[in-house]
Assembly symmetry: C2
Homo-oligomer: 197 residues x 2
């Protein structure tokens, strides 16, 4: 019986949704083909029809998570520092959904550091994120909102700040409620904006 | 036959060494009682005599890793900004040993986020680290090396920067060689030191 590509793609999306739910609840340590099948109310056999192994499952789930973030409506505000701020606010775990997504990303680091292919995928992801930040930094510099420091270094510093704040906020949500994350971000950006480096 | 506490402790240290080696090579996803036993050339049965389950193994290995870091010789330099810089240089993955240790910490986040006890341990660890940084920030402020901003916020920002730089350097060691990590840290500290926030 011929299979339709549309059905196949839809089923792969269903599987990815189940993968996200398992990851958000149990982390990568709890991600097994069986757990995902149970989450879907399907058999492990059906699952392996779409993904031959756990690694294929993980890679696909991370790619879809990337796409979901990229597909979010952009910020209509002005370019430069305001756009940079909006991008970072969007990434930080300030909502339950953003916290769940970040928890999946942070959890994926263990598996990724142990697997050269997944590690290369993550390295490329973070390089692209730095490139997007660098672009906003250069715009802010042209607008006179940021001093003319090396944009690569500033982008790496901003990305460091954001990743590290995410980790701390996931472990200590009471100490890092949304409003404190916003304040820390604003203070950090204000520090970067001061001339005299 | 009576067992000596000294032997027991020594064996637990041997086990922790094996746990670290497994973690550095395969991450938490690859950490099993069997893998640790194989690494030690021992039986799983012997291992369970010392650690009833994987969680006990993980908790003990992380505690010893903490102790190892705390036992390192302190920096004899002056207090304040120089001490803060030395602390952070010590943490960053600028040597193979520091990279291996950080890789274990980053890998542990997945397991820790999935387990309330491990998560509480990590939250307490990072709170203590922020407290140490806050102490150095206050000293630097008293010495006039840092402007009088909220020390809790500055400490959280510094910790964020360090954790995020660690993650990026682990995934992209070619982009973040030791000398670039040092330069990024120095530029970041110089930014914090500028008056006018």
């Amino acid at each position: 019986m011929p299979r339709h590509k549309g059905d196949h793609d839809a089923r792969r999306r269903d599987v990815s949704g189940a993968v996200w739910r398992v990851l958000a609840a149990h982390g990568f340590g709890g991600l097994t083909l069986r757990a995902v099948a149970t989450e879907m109310g399907a058999t492990t056999g059906l699952l392996t029809h779409y993904f031959p192994n756990k690694k294929a499952l993980v890679a696909h789930a991370l790619t879809l998570l990337d796409e979901r973030r990229a597909a979010r409506p952009g910020h209509a505000g002005p370019d430069g520092l305001a756009a940079l701020r909006a991008t970072l606010l969007d990434i930080l775990p300030r909502t339950p959904q953003a916290a769940a997504d970040n928890r999946i990303w942070v959890s994926s680091w263990d598996a990724a550091l142990a697997d050269p292919d997944l590690a290369a995928g993550h390295a490329a992801r973070y390089a692209r994120a730095r490139e997007r930040i660098r672009h906003q930094v250069r715009t802010a510099q042209r607008l006179g909102e940021l001093p003319p420091a090396d944009p690569d270094g500033v982008a790496a510093t901003i990305q460091s700040f954001a990743l590290g704040l995410i980790v701390q906020a996931l472990f200590s949500p009471e100490e890092f409620p949304p409003e404190r994350q916003t304040r820390l971000l604003d203070d950090f950006l204000a520090t970067l904006a001061v001339e005299g480096r």
